[in-house]
Symmetry: C2
Subunit: 198 residues, 2 copies
DNA sequence: ATCGTTCTATATCGATCGGTATATTAGTCT
DNA sequence: AGACTAATATACCGATCGATATAGAACGAT
């Protein structure tokens, strides 16, 4: 099985740059010209390496979730419901307040993606968001069973509340909210958290 | 001054339909073909009546703010800070949970607008959001002066928190959150609103 | 009836969109 | 060296983007 001419660019580095682009501008806002210009490769090279724009976006999405979503999976392992909520909110503040990251949120951008041709992407992103919220809900359901939330607390409502605040922080970061400002938002949001009976 | 041939379509009705379109799909996601098809008029008619796509969008934005933003100005007139917050959050739940309205939020869509050519729109929408948050902050500053918020409360942080929750509800509504679900989010967001000393 | 004005309809503009056909270059394998 | 394979570069595809040129149609004024 002959091997052929070796690739002249670093695919990992290219994915990094593509992630940054999609993160800033969303799926539809990022054109192939944006991509080839920033990645420093030609169109055919991009298509040979990644398939097409949609396939590239899905690869980027995986990287994004591994990087930006890491705090979520970690947060869900916290011992108490309050600590789960705290880590989720502060993680979001950290992510969106970090000047090293582009503003905004790939998930929110994708969820609100615009035209009809991106409907598939929009559905996928919607599914991702729902799955994320469901994971929080399951964790809070367990917390309630463990007596870690008051009996009248609703895990699904609390999970939805956390999701709302997290996505709202992403929108706010587009407007230039600082790390410190988002942390204070997280603190206020957390202060609404129901106290456990114990 | 001769008057010429009268317009054959209702501009008010056309603006209504355009508002609905932009609301659903955002500025960039709505193409001229979408517009002419839905409004039932031809391109030249649209340009003669409204200028161009950007000018049409600004007209639509005014209508949207008059309609969707009415609850905000009304809420700011409530007698207490708690009531202001309650009306803002429940108003957002009402707006985004109403099945008669398209999902999403014109403001959030615009804020996250994608490509470079819409940068002007994005800046404008960002300014709108900042102005909205500033109005809330001023109202809460007054409330604090009136002893309606505890001395350690931060009007700017609370205003930012309210904005975050409101925008988060808009994002959540894209995923299909119901009126009732959003109202429960609003209730949680309000559950520990800082109590005044009085 | 004719003129002036304004809206409407058709057809099209250049630019850009995502995506490729073709030919050349650079490498491994025998 | 020669054959085979894969990545590159150029140039281009049809479709769609926002926006218009042009010509005809419907009105008021005279």
């Amino acid at each position: 099985m002959p091997t052929g001419r070796p690739r002249e660019f670093d695919t990992e580095r290219a994915l990094e740059l593509a992630t940054s682009l999609f993160w800033q501008k969303g799926y539809e806002g990022t054109s192939l010209s944006d991509l080839t210009e920033t990645l420093g490769i030609t169109r055919p090279s991009l298509y040979a390496a990644f398939g097409n724009k949609e396939a590239l976006f899905r690869l980027v999405l995986q990287r994004y979730e591994a990087k930006a979503g890491a705090y979520r999976t970690k947060a869900l392992k916290a011992p108490t419901a309050l600590e789960v909520a705290r880590q989720l909110l502060e993680g979001a503040a950290e992510l969106h307040g970090d000047k090293a990251n582009p503003v905004g949120c790939l998930g929110v951008h994708g969820a609100l993606a615009c035209s009809d041709e991106a409907a598939m992407i929009r559905r996928d992103m919607s599914a991702h968001r729902i799955a994320g919220e469901a994971a929080i809900r399951r964790r809070l359901t367990r917390a309630k069973a463990e007596g870690d939330l008051p009996p009248n607390a609703s895990p699904s409502d609390l999970a939805r509340y956390l999701s709302v605040v997290i996505y709202g922080m992403a929108v706010q970061s587009v407007g230039g909210a600082s790390h410190a400002e988002l942390r204070r938002v997280a603190a206020i949001a957390l202060s609404q958290w129901p106290k456990s009976a114990r």
